[in-house]
Amino acid sequence: MAEQGTLSAAGLGASRASASEAWGPRPRRALSRRNIIIYGTLTVVALYYLLPLYVMIVTSLKGMPEIRMGNIFSPPMEITFEPWVKAWATACTGLNCEGLSRGFWNSVRITVPSVIISILIASVNGYALANWRFRGADIFFTILIVGAFIPYQVMIYPIVIILREMGLYGTLTGLVMVHTIFGMPILTLLFRNYFASVPEELFKAARVDGAGFWAIYFKIMLPMSLPIFVVAVILQITGIWNDFLFGVVYTKPDVYPMTVQLNNIVNSVQGVKEYNVNMAATLLTGLVPLIVYFISGKLFVRGIAAGAVKG
């Protein structure tokens, strides 16, 4: 969008210049007062936003003596990776001293199946809602979307009971189910809207050729909608990786996801506080969504814009 704006502005300027010479607004100087205000404000705000990330990195690279002596904003005099190693491999939660690595792998084992299953179910469902409507479908869809606004706390305990009845309470499978359930409203909406925008002629032509529900889904819809799948994957990876509430409610200590374990490490009351290890652990936990964010760029923005139009 930005490129478009500048392009059209440049085109406009060119045509004006060719029409006559002294025309249009006076060319702006690069260092005008307006520019100083705009860029100045933006830079100051940007520094403020970057500050916590900077503090995290700097703190995690210092030794404890240096932290006690110096201030949190100063760069490390001696860079040490000890805190990172300790946070990953030997930091303690209670009696368990395996470090964050266990939480990391738990989170991987939770996130990967949750992302795949929730997207599969929601995409097929969105496709059914967009192209194969049946009576009553819209009622359930409306309930689903309205349900997205119900505070999770209202539904937490009934789900505990459901999972307990199924023998899944406290297991990773149970948590994957919970993520699938709560990811459903936004994902279904995302896919339904996308499939509804696919030209109907395509769908009709395939029907005439004798393709059924699944054939059209796999041969036409799926290949056409890769971008929306990428958006959904980004949305789900960050959402599920960052989850804390479901992890703490539906899993047991040995399968806690990374966020829960991180909180237990940092906020444990026993022992001496090792701020450098804490910050290394915090950074490690934030690393996965940060990498997804910086790689995905504009698609991430599209994902939250899609999340924004819900309701």
């Binding site: 916590p52 606004f149 119900i150 804390f244 909180n263 997804v292």
Partner: protein
């Protein structure tokens, strides 16, 4: 396929594949969302302790809830946090979006920087700000070491202002999202509006205030609903940053529910508190949904 097997077309088997594909949605909507909500509301009128029981005691749980100091503090905190975070995130988010909308260079870089906290979890956010606001090492210590010995800024250790410490972290995490939504809204405004107001000599701030913002009403409404439904859920941030402390000064309703259900084995209280949360959300959502749907029906 199913109808040919049946001999004659049956209503139930028509479009069977689509119905099968919708089973997860139907189950989620009816069993979890509707069923779960009704279950919780019903059980909020019982004296369930460790296990849910159907032993009705009327409104006792609600009476106890509204007499509990912890709950009152939670509500007060939610109110302060909610109102301030709505105002600040809308104002800051809009101003950042307006600045980015001035056809500037490095727009993508700035946007990436403003939005990255949103990719981080509330746990990470809470822990970072807990460290920055640490009175012995963080901002307070740094300012004191510069010579201002009496400088005091320790929101996380001061009962009176702890909620503002949480607000700082919450705003850092969430304003990027608001900025993004606002920027999308601003880009939707017709370029001709700007030209017209420039021709008429209307100053920029007036154009924003009296022309652009009213035109962006739908964007503001959606943003408002999104922020508001996020505020009611605020939980992880408080757990990570203060664990509800010092004392019970930074408790929030979501944490009250969790503590009652899973720590103090007082299910009935948890159900009553979560039902109150539901009522709060309904107060926000219903008028909006009514307006939205009413308008749509009117148009269609």
């Amino acid at each position: 396929m199913a109808d040919t097997r049946n001999g004659r077309p049956s209503q139930v088997f028509r479009n069977l594949n689509s119905k099968v594909a919708s089973i997860p949605m139907v189950l989620t909507a009816s069993v979890v969302f509707v069923g779960g909500t009704i279950w919780t509301v019903i059980h909020s009128f019982t004296n369930s302790k460790l296990l849910p029981r159907l032993n009705f005691i009327g409104l006792d749980q609600y009476e106890r809830l509204w007499n509990s100091n912890k709950w009152l503090i939670s509500i007060e905190n939610l109110f302060i946090y909610g109102v301030l975070s709505l105002i600040f995130s809308l104002v800051i988010g809009f101003m950042l979006a307006a600045l980015l909308d001035q056809k500037i260079r490095f727009e993508d870089t700035f946007r990436t920087i403003f939005l990255y906290p949103f990719a981080l979890s509330f746990i990470v956010t809470g822990l970072v700000w807990q460290w920055i606001l640490n009175p012995d090492f963080g901002v307070q210590a740094v300012v004191r070491s510069l010579g201002w010995e009496s400088f005091a800024f320790d929101p996380l250790y001061n009962q009176d202002i702890v909620i503002y410490g949480i607000l700082i972290a919450g705003l850092w995490q969430g304003t990027g999202l608001v900025m993004c939504l606002m920027l999308a809204g601003l880009r939707g405004i017709d370029e001709d509006i700007w030209k017209a107001s420039r021709v008429d000599g209307i100053p920029m701030w007036k154009t924003y205030l009296f022309i652009v913002i009213p035109m962006m009403r739908p964007v503001f409404v959606t943003t408002l609903v999104i922020i508001a439904s996020g505020i009611v859920r605020v939980y992880d941030l408080v757990v990570a940053q203060t664990s509800g402390g010092p004392g019970i000064a930074s408790e929030v309703p979501a944490k009250y529910v969790y503590d009652a259900m899973f720590l103090s084995q007082n299910l009935g209280q948890g159900f009553a508190a979560s039902t109150m949360m539901l009522v709060t959300v309904l107060i926000v959502i219903v008028p909006w949904a009514y307006l939205e749907f009413g308008r749509r029906r009117h148009r269609g």
